[in-house]
Symmetry: C2
Subunit: 325 residues, 2 copies
């Protein structure tokens, strides 16, 4: 049913090793036999078994990307850019979706270890000791995406500066009160960084008020929609709401519009990430996710080639995208 290299050897009359050399484009077979062998390979529809190849050569040529939400176009883009680099290098890419769940993260990591991945690019919403230890104990190369890390290489965006600038834009537009809606700090380190950015501005402006509203959930459209109910109770229009990301912003806006509020007259809502599927007039922050993914992948392969090089961190600038006002 499924042919093996032995079948090809038997049919062609050559040995396994010659067939292997022919298939893998290695020297040591005459042009004639190579062509003959390849013709039989083709005719028989033979495809080498990757597992056997891996086992035999003791190398697995696989990397993984671990993200918390593949349904967020932001991460989908990141995966795409990583996959491209990996394919160039002849590596397979495994995409793992954790849903921000640490238990699933660890279960997936164990599966990846079973598969002997050489490296992972991981988007963790928070520092995870258990994860780091397991990665290190198995000598898996790792690039952390989104936040800095003392243990591994990392690629991040300048959240602090970006949220500072967004806050500044709102203040310059005349808003005297800013409200940041984000995941609880225990859930997501980005909350802290972005809050710090906003605070850095607000602290220098005594007449500007700053509030935070937290949710303990993943940052989705639904979450934004739900938390918006709380927001309107606390916050009377006109007001400025800074949402943790675009999805949450969309959810908030949907709720507000459903209540009959005018956007941005009653509530101005800002986002983060600059995903494609956004409302026309949403001010957001562009995270150069494609470039960051590319950078992360390159760093990972450099690390695989040279495990002992110094740990590096790349910080990307995140600029304001003012599509609204």
């Amino acid at each position: 049913m499924k042919h093996t290299i032995n079948d090809i050897a038997r049919i062609t009359g050559y040995s396994k090793s010659s067939v292997s050399s022919a298939i893998n484009n290695k020297p040591g077979v005459s042009k004639k036999t190579r062509e003959y062998i390849m013709s039989v390979v083709k005719k028989m529809n033979y495809t080498p078994n990757e597992h056997a190849q891996n086992i035999s050569r003791g190398s697995y040529r696989t990397v993984a990307i671990i993200v918390r939400d593949i349904a967020n176009p932001f991460y989908a883009k990141m995966c795409r850019s990583v996959e491209e680099i990996a394919e160039e290098k002849g590596y397979s890419t495994i995409i793992v979706n954790t849903g921000g769940n640490d238990e699933r993260l660890m279960r997936s990591l164990n599966n990846l270890i079973r598969k002997r991945v050489e490296g992972v690019i991981v988007d963790v919403s928070n520092y995870n000791f258990e994860f780091s230890e397991l990665i290190k104990s198995h000598f898996i190369k790792c690039v952390v995406f989104g936040i800095d890390s003392k243990d591994f290489d990392s690629v991040e965006a300048d959240d602090n500066k970006a949220s500072y600038n967004m806050a500044l834009h709102l203040v310059n537009s005349g808003y005297k009160s800013l409200t940041f809606v984000c995941p609880i700090l225990e859930r997501n380190v980005y909350s802290k960084r972005r809050i710090e950015g906003i605070k850095r501005l607000v602290d220098s402006m005594p007449d500007v008020e700053f509030k935070t509203i937290y949710y303990d959930d993943s940052s989705s459209v639904h979450t934004g929609y739900d938390i918006a109910k709380e927001v309107v109770e606390i916050l009377k229009p006109p007001a400025a709401i800074m949402a943790f990301n675009d999805l949450v912003a969309i959810g908030i806006i949907q709720y507000l519009m459903g209540c009959g509020y005018l956007i941005p007259e009653d509530y101005i809502v800002t986002g983060f990430d600059n995903i494609d599927s956004i409302l026309f007039s949403l001010n957001t922050v562009n995270i150069p996710v494609y470039e960051m993914g590319e950078c992360a992948a390159k760093m990972l392969f450099e690390r695989i080639q040279n495990p002992d090089k110094e740990i590096q961190t790349h910080v990307f600038d995140a600029e304001l995208i003012l599509k609204g006002r």
Copy 2:
């Protein structure tokens, strides 16, 4: 560096086979030795090599999902539901993103064959002979997602009925002219099905006019934004635009709003898919993607267990979601 089963055997003083039995929870080892072996396994941080296990037992327990755009939340949801079922069955899932590119589709399929996947769930935007033949010649089980198929099991939504109903709703709302914006027929079989649904209605209403505007691109927000320029030239407000899916609808709406048009007063735009990140007032069609993914996965595993059963097709109802008017 990386331990093998031999190391564990050596350290514990037991044989490979005993270690193997202990690890795989198989009978034939005393409770005492099993516990001892497992303690060493734990201490040594040993994880079995899945490739070797696969090779040795001659089974690979892997399925794949092939989708055209993982950045579309619609497909991300589908993948999630399939993964859940697969995990229950002890299978790994590989997600492949083709970008609607047939060349990439074939390259990926060859990789999957190399990995000896047992089955695939595939979302092809169009019938692909080469793909079908390759799948069949390697005895890979297959479930087609979205459209029916004579070669494989399939799961689909009732596009025809849904677009009929959406058109009916617009007509009932007073629109005498409907314009459907969709991918060219060669690119996407869904275009045809949805057009047929609308035509079925329009043909019974002599006073209603029906137009189509085609694009030759993937159905994204950007595509919608771009094609909208063409739409406004052809179509004067007030008018009804039926977009191929929600992403395209969002793109169109963004462009129209940018031009200063009122939605839905000047142009009413409808979508398809019912993804989360949509504008508040978008009328769309709910495709029960989660249930469909679940169904597809179950069909796939049934087919793996019983390769000779009759080919099946499940059709899911797709109901109107009227969030607008």
